[in-house]
Subunit: 243 residues, 2 copies
DNA sequence: CGTTCCATTGAAGTGGTTCAAGTACTGTGG
DNA sequence: CCACAGTACTTGAACCACTTCAATGGAACG
């Protein structure tokens, strides 16, 4: 049973830009189908050139790069509403891999029709560029985190960001949310060793700031977490387009 | 004396995608003028919303973020051919600052006309998205560098990347190129302290791999540098569009 | 000719890594 | 129903890559 764009549960969330009736109709025609994958599946492979582009509809995943040494750098976490495959769409190949952490459902678009979008729907093309710019901004922020912040600070920052994203798409219940990653994933995202990440998690837990256990993140003290993460607590997130 | 797009010295470099006659004409009409700034000028300010967009024509600069603590993370280095201000163009504001390191000349575009580009020139809009995707890819690579590589490795990597970019735009003479940054800039880009960056530079110098002095980078042993940087030496860089 | 900016170097301290071992849980086959 | 194998998490201990502090040298500049 494929979700119609009209009934897309993401579309109407305030974090996403409002779509006009026509846009919904176009997106529906642009949508090719749905892909359902098991946890652990590689959705897109570095250096490959996927014929399909996706938008995550349900479930969580992660983007990562593999270094020559075999180490892995997680670039960011994929949550519902995220567009996957832009690089494959415009450049000649992907420069990172995407993997499903949980079972996932993705909207499928045909790469070849991307050009149609640019030719006939400039507003949507604009949105796509917007998405790319947001992605760039997020990576820039991550870069600053890895470059300048300590272990606990990085973890606190990751928790705040993930929680805020979760809240934006309605994945939170109170001050909790599902966070189905492994400690190794987080460590790989933050440029920390597994051991050290584990110890910093323990610190946050035992001082009563945040607990991450059994795939669930519980924030006990959001203010303190923000302070540790060196974030001001205001931050009304800006709406972004959904494709 | 303003450079005509037709005579743009960058356009014909193999690193940039070929432009059709019509595209050159359109770019010329899109170009609003030129901006010439002194070394040290801030071209774009984080959280501002510049009415203008630029393409670097001559000179070098850098993009950076300022953290709440006042520290600075350099996101990357700006060289001729780089587009500046995409975030201001599509999002509501810039998320990083851009500063001229040397005197610079920039092509100026009117932000308000960006929409025209999307509406009437889908190929160019596509190119703009492409550029955003390239930017994203570069930041992803930087993230992996900061996350997983040691001090010397980071510096070696930066040198190879900068030299390759320099070669692509014809800024190199033999195995040398001008690199007018300060050690602090490099340290801020690589997430190292100034002191440590300095010591690693000394190591590369004294083992005869690369020397960076008086704003000039000299590579004595490119192969070794690549090995240190964990890069395979092939890497024909892909052509990218110029806007 | 002092001031300022940048590069350089030494010394001390530490945040993080690596190694190594142990626990806890889950699924699988006998 | 139990043994075991596999995976994730936890913890301690030793080490070292990097940071911070502090001082010096050299070039540029008014």
């Amino acid at each position: 049973m494929v979700t119609k764009c009209r009934n897309c549960p993401l579309r109407t969330r305030p974090i996403f830009e409002m779509m006009t009736e026509n846009e919904v109709i176009f997106m529906q025609s642009f949508k090719n189908g749905e892909l359902v994958v098991d946890a652990g599946t590689t959705i897109m492979m570095e250096a490959s050139n996927s014929p399909q582009l996706y938008t995550a509809l349900d479930g969580m995943g992660l983007r990562y790069k593999t270094l020559l040494s075999g180490e892995r750098q997680v670039l960011n976490f994929v949550m519902p509403g995220d567009f996957i495959g832009l690089q494959a769409g415009v450049m000649h190949e992907m420069h990172h891999s995407v993997e499903a952490t949980t079972d996932m459902t993705l909207c499928v678009f045909d790469r070849k029709r991307l050009w149609e979008l640019f030719r006939d729907h400039p507003e949507r093309a604009f949105d796509l560029t917007w998405i790319a710019a947001v992605e760039e901004h997020l990576l820039g922020e991550s870069l600053a985190i890895l470059g300048r912040m300590s272990g606990v600070e990085r973890i606190a920052r990751a928790f705040v960001r993930l929680f805020d994203r979760g809240a934006a798409i309605g994945a939170t219940q109170g001050m909790e949310m599902p966070l189905p990653y492994k400690q190794q994933d987080l460590a790989d995202a933050l440029g920390l060793s597994l051991v050290h990440a584990n110890k910093m998690l323990k610190r946050l837990r035992s001082e009563g700031t945040a607990t991450w256990r059994n795939g669930r993140l519980i924030i006990h003290d959001y203010d303190r977490l923000c302070r540790i993460a060196r974030l001001e607590k205001d931050a009304t997130p800006v709406a972004r387009p959904l494709i």
